[in-house]
Subunit: 437 residues, 2 copies
Amino acid sequence: MNQSTAQKSEQAEREQKPHVLTLPLEQTQANRAPHSYERWLIAKLMRMAGSPPVRFQLWNDEVIDLGNQEARFTIHLMDPKALYTLVTNPNLAFGDLYSAGRLEVDGELPDLMEALYRSVHRARQKWPKWLDALWRNPNPRSTGILEAKENIHHHYDLGNEFYQLWLDHAAMQYTCAYYEQPELTLEQAQLAKLEHVCRKLRLRPGMTVVEAGCGWGGLARYMARNYGVNVDSYNISKEQLTFAREQARKEKLEHLINYVEDDYRNIEGQYDAFVSIGMLEHVGKQNFQTLSELIKRSLKPDGIALLHSIGRNRPMLMNAWIEKRIFPGAYPPSIGEFMEICEHGDFSVLDVENLRLHYAQTLTHWMERFNRNEDKVSEMYDDHFTRAWRMYLAGSIAAFRAGSLQLFQVVFTHGDNNQLPQSRQDLYAFPAAPEDI
Amino acid sequence: MNQSTAQKSEQAEREQKPHVLTLPLEQTQANRAPHSYERWLIAKLMRMAGSPPVRFQLWNDEVIDLGNQEARFTIHLMDPKALYTLVTNPNLAFGDLYSAGRLEVDGELPDLMEALYRSVHRARQKWPKWLDALWRNPNPRSTGILEAKENIHHHYDLGNEFYQLWLDHAAMQYTCAYYEQPELTLEQAQLAKLEHVCRKLRLRPGMTVVEAGCGWGGLARYMARNYGVNVDSYNISKEQLTFAREQARKEKLEHLINYVEDDYRNIEGQYDAFVSIGMLEHVGKQNFQTLSELIKRSLKPDGIALLHSIGRNRPMLMNAWIEKRIFPGAYPPSIGEFMEICEHGDFSVLDVENLRLHYAQTLTHWMERFNRNEDKVSEMYDDHFTRAWRMYLAGSIAAFRAGSLQLFQVVFTHGDNNQLPQSRQDLYAFPAAPEDI
């Protein structure tokens, strides 16, 4: 079986699996007393997870409090099989069981998830090898040109209407905002992010910019409107591009923006700036050299490149549930892995900024809006979907708070470019966020 | 032969070799006509170096102009053997021959060196393997605790009087300054660097700081004087420590500063800040994990670490001449290699700033002062030394200008520390350089 056939059959196998684990009602509502080895299993599970401040409530309402730390959260398991599923592969099963309503939580979901992240992070150093192997996250699936289309469609083509329910109304940004001041609104912080990026790129009117992965096109419109630059923005999500083009037409910015429906790997021409916000996570390590070579040939001798991406403090596979159910193919690189892009292209790294806690705050703002609109979401999809999405947002908040995920903005130029800004002073000359929104 | 014996005999062999290649006068002043294969050798050498804008003037005054580019520099070779030495190992021989006065240059030395750097950088991609092997820079020598002492003594114990001739008078900084504005004086820019570092560390009165490698102690005194913090500063150079302690006494800062004569690997205790300016270049890649573990245990949970180091855009060995004659054991890491320190310790990188062109300007200011004091230097040492030092300063200016060397300031914290500054705004709240110096 060659690699591509293997990938296809793996893909097919995945598609046959239901997105969540559902069981007939009579099985999920079991209320028999737990066996003693089931209690033992829970105790063992909690010890392996580093004894987080959690108690369990079982299908028959029996409460298991291990008393290691003052329990601040209760996890309800609705049926015995939920326990076995959880123990076999907690990384994947926790989200699946929650989505299916077979696991419920008392307490704030992001706080519980943060407690779990912190506790597991410490505990896993001591796991025996067999456990590490059993609970291991899988390698991300392929991100070749064809698979990328499928991966991106899975997440980003859920419908603009859905994303409009909880993203900012100013620029439809589905990436980390910049809370220059902690009290900024989501709209202010997203515009501040766009402004911060433009300043880092040192844009001036008449420059040309290429954008790899443009979402709903908000950055391109901000750049065109506020900096008078010409932007070519690439994206492979049809739904997003339809929205982006419509907005540009409404704002009379069509003459400055070209939204291109194509893979970033097909970018042509040379530009004053190369920018990519929140795409690198979907690129995959195996494509870093290609990306590096692409930037090398797309950037004018004096040009500046900026990549904004979720990352890690050290190499680590994506959480299994997120990779399987939410972001197929996703892999947030460690900063060292990120540097392969710069080293391979002999680029000079000028500036790295980590906005980890800004992403936690962005996600908190998103989740507040999402929670307010849950009924609408359930109407558009179903309860399953709503619960899965809630888990995804809560888990992401937790991961950024616990330092499991980072958000890097990396600025770099060709290695022999001496037209560099004297300092970063000009990034901070006046507030990046608008006051009147 | 075990490793340590091998190292010792290598060390002994090095010490037996004269620091520069001198020849009896009758050999160096040969004025015979060059052979035709000597002309061919020069043409070949220049082609391998990417045809830089250089002409040659030979021992008999014959000029060889290859006409590839308009020649802006003339390299004089004083004797035939100089040509053979140069061709066999240009990386090492260029500096040696220049130091010995067997190679002279018409034109500005930093400009010539920059032209050579840029030209060789492009050309070497196409070198045949045998040439790459022949001209390869050697691995840096060991930087174990004993060797480090020897390496550091070689360079830093040349005498405080010597360094005072050309370093700044404000803080005796032998590291990259920060030219917040291009017109700053060396003194202003060095104080601005110290201020910039203190701001990045977010120092507040009463905090404790540990410094690995403190030079003449200027940063510790700046921190104590301007931020009221307690500093423990480690150094293995006796000469520098004598100066540092004397200065602290004069400035009545002894109660806040403890200058420790010891290897950085022996740092003990926990601090609010860990700082190291210009030491990492001497640490050696093989000690990065040890350094990482040292920082891990020396930094309080909410502490901030800053490493300031010469680096590279990609892994590359130190220029042979610099490593052999100027900085034994030196290895400037690529930013990717640098990240091993952060990844190994599960640190979170908050901020990377590249001050490459600031180092070119710093070195230019040093060289101006050095040139004004050349007579004194030659009196203290000899012409050889003066010429070697001039080559070192000029070559370093060139390397930073050509992008062969970088200067990274990297700020990081423990991975689970959430007491992070909201933004970098406060680094730029008011000028870092004093006006009145």
